[in-house]
């Protein structure tokens, strides 16, 4: 079985030739490992004994009175966000490929922390590229990566956020491809990454679907997730795609709505829907939430949008911050600002039975939220 390289007109491999053999190698490794019982058993064991899976679902009655809103608690997983699902799987693959140097990009710092964590666990060298603006607003995660033994390399040009951090990580990979595996943090990038990341994040939706059925005896009317690059959303949505009655709602930051207000274009190795101008120059995204502050999105989401199977809506910074406070005060859960976008739209999606991906916890965001309120 070969990996999926395109999703309709989206996806593909728009990268320098230097990387093609490494992408082929990764694709081959993944194609055999996805059906390899020993690999799957090792991953499963780590998910359970190290990462803390399965994560529960939690009904949020005070947050959403009049609805039955369940939260899929990825915030409870080790390192505090869904990003570890992907980092664990990819580092296991890197080990099988014999690559001992690991690089990653990070926006909110959650993917960097997840990658640094797994590298510490396996004794691998870890370098994380992070925009200097994100280093400022996600300081606790920068310190965590340091504690975990990773080197954080600031990216101090262009947007100084996730877009530039990703470009620099890809440039590092081009220069060191023979020794290095690039653990990309979302379902973006050249094939096979979008499919690989989706498959590693699918555990979210697989668990949540069963848990929801057990709790309610039926499927949700709507499944809601925030969309930055789109990995928690695709992981949450995927096992519901065949359930025709279930709405799939992706929530983008209003200032980074690559699906809602984007156009076709090429960024970071794939064709997708992007914030770009008529000449194909990539535009800056703006979001209070570093993890959503990205002008691109995974190609599979662009395809799900075009086919109509999923819908994508926006949420402003203010709405996300309001949902952040509301969940803190009504349920005693501090959500990540990224996840708060999904929470805001879960409240007004018009459905009663709703499943939301609470992709991460908000400790990293406290300083930014408080700073904003004191201004």
């Amino acid at each position: 079985m070969s990996a999926t390289r395109t999703f309709g007109d989206y996806g593909g491999r728009y990268v320098p030739e230097t990387l093609i053999p490494a992408l082929d190698e990764l694709e081959q490794a993944w194609t055999s490992l996805r059906d390899d019982a020993s690999f799957q058993a090792e991953l499963e064991e780590l998910r359970n004994s190290y990462a803390g899976r399965p994560t529960p679902i939690t009904l949020a009655p005070r947050f959403a009175p009049g609805q039955r809103v369940y939260l899929k608690r990825e915030d409870l997983m080790h390192t505090g966000a869904h990003k570890l699902n992907n980092a664990l799987g990819q580092v296991l693959i890197a080990q099988r490929l014999g690559k001992r140097r690991i690089i990653a990009e990070t926006g909110a710092g959650q993917h960097g922390v997840a990658t640094a964590t797994v590298c510490a666990r396996f004794g691998l060298e870890c370098i994380v590229y992070m925009g200097s603006e994100d280093i400022r607003r996600q300081a606790p995660n920068v310190e965590r990566m340091g504690l975990l033994g990773a080197e954080v390399r600031p990216v101090d040009f262009g947007t100084r956020t996730l877009k530039e951090a990703t470009s620099e990580a890809i440039r590092d990979w081009i220069a060191n491809v023979e020794t290095t595996h690039y653990v990309i943090g979302s379902c973006v990038g050249p094939a096979p990454y979008p499919e690989l990341v989706r498959e590693l994040q699918r555990v979210i939706g697989r668990e949540a679907r069963e848990q929801f059925l057990a709790a309610e005896g039926r499927l949700p009317e709507a499944v809601v997730a925030c969309v930055g690059g789109g990995s928690n959303a695709i992981g949450m949505f995927y096992d519901f795609i065949g359930d025709d009655g279930v709405r799939l709602i992706g929530v983008e930051a209003a200032g980074a709505a690559s699906l809602g207000s984007g156009r076709g274009g090429v960024l970071h190795g794939a064709r997708s829907s992007l914030l770009a101008d008529a000449d194909g120059q990539i535009m800056d995204a703006h979001s209070i939430s570093a993890g959503l502050d990205y002008p691109g999105v995974g190609p599979e989401h662009a395809w799900l949008r075009d086919t109509g199977r999923a819908e994508y809506v926006a949420c402003t910074d203010d709405e996300a911050v309001a949902a952040f406070h509301r969940l803190c005060e009504t349920e005693g859960i501090v959500p990540a600002l990224e996840s708060s976008h999904a929470l805001a739209r879960a409240l007004d999606c018009g459905d009663e039975l709703v499943l939301v991906c609470l992709s991460g916890r908000g400790d990293k965001d406290l300083a930014e939220v408080l700073r904003r309120e004191h201004e």
């Binding site: 593909g12 491999r13 728009y14 990268v15 320098p16 030739e17 230097t18 990387l19 093609i20 053999p21 490494a22 040009f157 262009g158 877009k163 470009s167 890809i170 440039r171 081009i174 220069a175 060191n176 491809v177 023979e178 156009r263 076709g264 274009g265 090429v266 960024l267 970071h268 190795g269 064709r271 770009a276 101008d277 008529a278 000449d279 194909g280 120059q281 990539i282």
Partner: protein
């Protein structure tokens, strides 16, 4: 005679710079159309691209600069730009308009040979390319084959990369087309050493840096590179 390809970022003064480079001994000009996120480029060309975009060098304006350059020099001209620029303009449309403005061929560094094969262009191969991919690129390429000397992005380096020699002999085994080596070549001695292995060199970052200091500095660099190449033959 070995071939000297000089890269210049498209700017309003590029036609005059290209003329100076050709007078000093450049055989071909590669003309960068800037892109906001140039993955194959190191800091020097990335920053030149940022300045070009700030100066309004969008695709239509770049095509004008190409046409103005064509009016002044009669050597081959090759726009170099990224897939996103083609995707936005239209793949066939940009090829047509670039050729109409005087382009001899095109170079798209984030477009491997098997992607958009219908676009006729100079293909790039790298030290990591397998034999199968070398053959694919050599069969598809338009006129000559671009040997990326290093596993890495563009940018001047102290030494000529040791990875060029094995790549050049592997490429020579699959094609009789001219092989020009680029990435990291910035001085006459690099050009001389690379020319012992190939049919010519492409000089990017060093040329961009010299061009920023004006036509005289660019001509001096080209003269040095030319001397290095001619020395070898």
């Amino acid at each position: 005679m070995k071939t000297l390809v000089v890269y210049l970022m498209a700017m309003p003064d590029t036609p005059a710079l290209a003329e100076a480079a050709v007078e000093a001994g450049a055989d071909m000009i590669e003309l960068g159309f800037p892109f906001s996120d140039p993955l194959a480029d190191g800091p020097l060309i990335r920053r030149a691209g940022e300045r070009a975009l700030a100066a309004g060098m969008r695709t239509a304006r770049c095509l004008e600069v190409l046409a103005e350059t064509r009016a002044r020099v009669d050597v081959p001209l090759m726009p170099m730009t990224y897939a996103s620029i083609f995707d936005a303009y239209g793949w066939a449309e940009l090829e047509r308009d670039a050729r109409a403005a005087g382009a001899t061929s095109l170079i798209v560094p984030d477009l491997p040979a098997d992607v958009h094969p219908e676009l006729r262009r100079v293909q790039l191969v790298a030290p990591t390319s397998t034999e199968e991919r070398l053959r694919l690129a050599a069969d598809a390429t338009d006129g000559w084959l671009y040997l990326v000397t290093v596993t890495g992005t563009t940018g001047a380096r102290a030494e000529l990369a040791p990875t060029l020699a094995p790549l050049a002999s592997r490429a020579r085994a699959v094609t009789d087309l001219p092989l020009y080596a680029g990435f990291g070549i910035s001085r006459g001695e690099h050009a001389r050493a690379a020319a012992e292995l190939t049919d010519g060199v492409v000089v990017g970052s060093a040329a961009v840096e010299a061009a920023e200091q004006g036509a005289a500095a660019l001509a001096a660099l080209v003269t040095e590179l030319r001397a290095g190449l001619d020395d070898e033959t």
